[in-house]
């Protein structure tokens, strides 16, 4: 028994070492970015991106620039937050609505429709990008054109359907006996029990919305509506303080979403597990 414990301990240490190395490798680029955020942007051009700690050249200047400088960073930041929140809210609501329909009812054409969900799940947006752009270019310069086409989001619908398979039919029956409408059941009884699933999908969809680039690039026209990714990309030219702002701004763009992730991580794994693809 003693040797077994020893073996376990050795395995456990080996694993911690393995995962620590992996973690260091994965965090390394972000850490490089963090180090660079204390150096003048011009150094990036001069010496490339590296881990050199040159204390005499490092300062908080970039952060001062970020928080007090005359630039659009915070406008982009705010736009990104607005767009992300709107996207997540609309996508989750609509997709849960549809996913519920697929999960609890039997109706004519359901299989056919569900196959379409599966097909769309595997078609990249890029395939329809150009014709779709042509189609909606008349909508003007607004976020609706970014959000609306993808509200009924195939993979989110798929996930919610999986998740809702686990809901006991008795809840629905109890609701019907109490005289609730089919929609009342969804709003009052189902949405509350979907919290973990919402958390999981909020993180995934939030991540995508926060980092979305190509579609907003095509749709958005005025710079006052730029999101963070679009804005940061305009900084990739060495004019003025651009690189200083680019580096510190890039680093800072990770911070809020990371805090949210760490806080909701528990629910995330829980939700993913509950909705995991089951055979």
């Amino acid at each position: 028994m003693g040797s077994r414990k020893k073996k376990d301990k050795a395995a456990s240490i080996a694993m911690i070492i393995l995962f620590s190395v992996l973690a260091i490798l994965i965090v390394l680029p972000v850490f490089t970015l963090f180090i660079a955020s204390f150096k003048p942007g011009g150094d990036l051009l001069q010496y490339g991106l590296n881990l050199d700690l040159k204390l005499e050249r490092m300062s908080l200047d970039n952060y001062v620039l970020l928080f007090t400088g005359n630039h659009d960073y915070w406008r982009w930041f705010l736009n990104s937050i607005v767009l992300t929140v709107l996207t997540v809210f609309c996508t989750l609501f609509v997709s849960a609505f549809v996913g519920y329909g697929f999960a609890v009812y039997d109706f004519k054409g359901k299989n056919f429709l569900f196959i379409i969900v599966l097909i769309i799940l595997s078609i990249p947006l890029e395939v329809v990008m150009l014709p779709l752009y042509k189609q909606i270019s008349g909508w003007g310069d607004n976020y609706a054109a970014i959000i609306l086409p993808f509200m009924a989001h195939a993979s989110t619908i798929f996930f919610f359907r999986q998740y809702l398979f686990g809901i006991p039919q008795s809840i629905l029956e109890a609701g019907r006996i109490d005289g609730a409408t089919e929609f009342g059941i969804f709003f009052r009884l189902i949405i509350p029990v979907m919290k973990p699933a919402f958390a999981a999908m909020a993180i995934l969809n939030g991540m995508n919305a926060w980092n979305n680039y190509l579609w907003p690039l095509l749709v958005i026209r005025s710079s006052s509506k730029y999101t963070l990714t679009l804005g940061l990309n305009t900084l990739i030219n060495p004019y003025g303080d651009n690189y200083s702002l680019l580096i510190v701004g890039s680093f800072f763009s990770i911070v809020p979403i990371f805090i949210l992730f760490v806080c909701f991580q528990k629910y995330f794994v829980e939700g993913m597990t509950a909705g995991a693809v089951k055979g």
Partner: protein, 448 residues
């Protein structure tokens, strides 16, 4: 568990509070950078797209002057800056779908012909250019023209010149004024390399500043006279073979980024890893802004030629930004008039030099020594000789390549900067073979 939720809430509120605070602040300040503040009721708002942030301040400064002189036609510019690729792509999409185009847009020379295909969505500017025309370098208007109509307002001449780091050359015992021909240039390179072990000048793979100059000097081009594709021609091969020969000496090498006007290349020059650039004149602004350590060490001189006895071009116009007006814009006429003033008036041309450091298209400015030798000017201060002395020497002999305005040019340019030059100078492919391959690729593309 509870602590976690609390922490989450706390961080969310903190971020939110902090955002609101900063958001407001930043908003108030950023108005200045992207939108002009104009007083008065009857002000026309013009949307402007640029891809070089540099140009924005120049535009707003000039627009303010316009407003002072024309109180009845006040304009307010709202500027958006996008990256080079993104801006041109968005413009082409917007013109395609007839939705969402700005009023005014800066189009880079290399992309300009792409907007001249089919039905042109830009306004003919011939009428607004008329008042300024006599003092403008004609070839710079021609490059933005099609069938006698001018669609772009030039920013500069972009005369190709040589920038020598005299400090470094001195250590190798080289006087840049002795370099007259490309053979001298090559020889000086070898001498420099022997003395210092460092590269003399760059071989280009992502641009064709030196290549186009050499080609034009030899009377070559990318197209035949009738406009048909002909990149695989004798003169082209001669030029590229010659450059290949330079590379083989070891004294010339490909700079990071593949050409001097590049964020990876600036530090190489700044650190003294290369000594010479053959670049259009507007590169002055890159020196002053990005290669600050070289102040006082750089001289501007005419580029080498093949044979001093021949009547060759001393320079060609390189690069450029044509400001265009979107024809379907509601205020297209006013926009055209304002932008013509902003870019072509004598006032504007002085500022093009003062602020941007470019060689203005209005050549009257070139001989105004009060401006060109102004000791307070940052560009005059930076270079070790007077930049306009060189310009005035080559003034009457600045040529151009015909193909630059052809609608095939963007594709040819793309093929050269991604494939052809890489094949030759990075992968060691034979010049003839690389040209043959690219000719075939391009033929397939134009075979519609």
């Amino acid at each position: 568990m509870k602590r976690r939720v609390l922490a989450a809430l706390l961080s969310v509120t903190m971020t939110a509070a902090f955002l609101m605070g900063c958001g407001k602040d930043a908003k108030r300040e950023t108005v200045a950078t992207n939108e002009m503040e104009v007083e008065g009721d009857d002000v026309t708002t013009l949307k402007v797209w640029t891809f070089i942030e540099f140009h924005q301040k120049f535009y707003t400064d000039m627009a303010k002057k316009w407003n002072q002189e024309h109180p009845d036609k006040k304009v307010k510019l709202v500027l958006s800056n996008l990256s080079y690729d993104d801006m041109h792509n968005k413009l082409s999409l917007a013109l395609e779908s007839k939705e969402g185009a700005p009023d005014v847009v800066d189009i880079e020379l290399g992309k300009f012909p792409a907007f001249m295909v089919g039905e042109v969505g830009l306004r003919d500017l011939t009428d607004v250019i008329e008042p300024y025309k006599k003092s403008i370098v004609k070839s710079r208007l021609d490059i933005y023209s099609k069938e006698g109509k001018i669609y772009g307002l030039p920013t500069h001449v972009g005369a190709t010149v040589a920038f020598y780091n005299t400090d470094l050359l001195k250590t190798a015992g080289i006087n840049y004024e002795d370099i007259k021909t490309w053979d001298d240039f090559k020889e000086a390179g070898v001498k420099y390399y022997k003395a210092t072990g460092k590269s003399f000048a760059t071989i280009e793979t992502t641009a064709q500043w030196m290549i186009n100059l050499m080609l034009a000097q030899k009377g070559g081009d990318y197209l035949k006279e009738d406009g048909s594709l002909n990149v695989n021609n004798e003169i082209m091969a001669e030029v590229l073979e010659y450059i290949k020969g330079m590379q083989d000496t070891g004294a010339f090498s490909v700079i990071p980024g593949g050409q001097p006007d590049n964020e990876e290349a600036y530090p190489c020059y700044n650190n003294g890893e290369y000594a010479v650039q053959i670049m259009p004149f507007w590169n002055t602004s890159r020196f002053v802004n990005y290669m600050t350590d070289l102040a006082g060490k750089v001289a501007i001189a005419p580029t080498p030629v093949w044979k001093t006895s021949d009547k060759e071009f001393a320079s060609i116009g390189g690069g450029g930004t044509g400001t265009a007006i979107v024809a379907s814009g509601k205020h297209a006429d006013l926009a055209a008039e304002v932008m013509a003033y902003i870019k072509l008036s004598e006032e504007a041309n002085k500022e093009v030099w003062n602020v941007l450091g470019f060689d203005p298209v209005n050549t009257e400015v070139w001989s105004d020594t009060e401006i060109t030798q102004n000791a307070d000017n940052q560009y005059v201060k930076y270079f070790s000789n007077y930049p306009f002395d060189t310009l005035n020497k080559i003034k009457d002999n600045i040529g151009s390549l015909g193909s630059l305005t052809d609608e095939k040019w963007p594709s040819i340019n793309n093929e050269f900067c991604t494939v052809t030059l890489n094949n030759i100078f990075e992968n060691g492919m034979e010049v003839k073979e690389a040209l043959k391959e690219s000719q075939a690729t391009l033929e397939n593309e134009f075979k519609k």
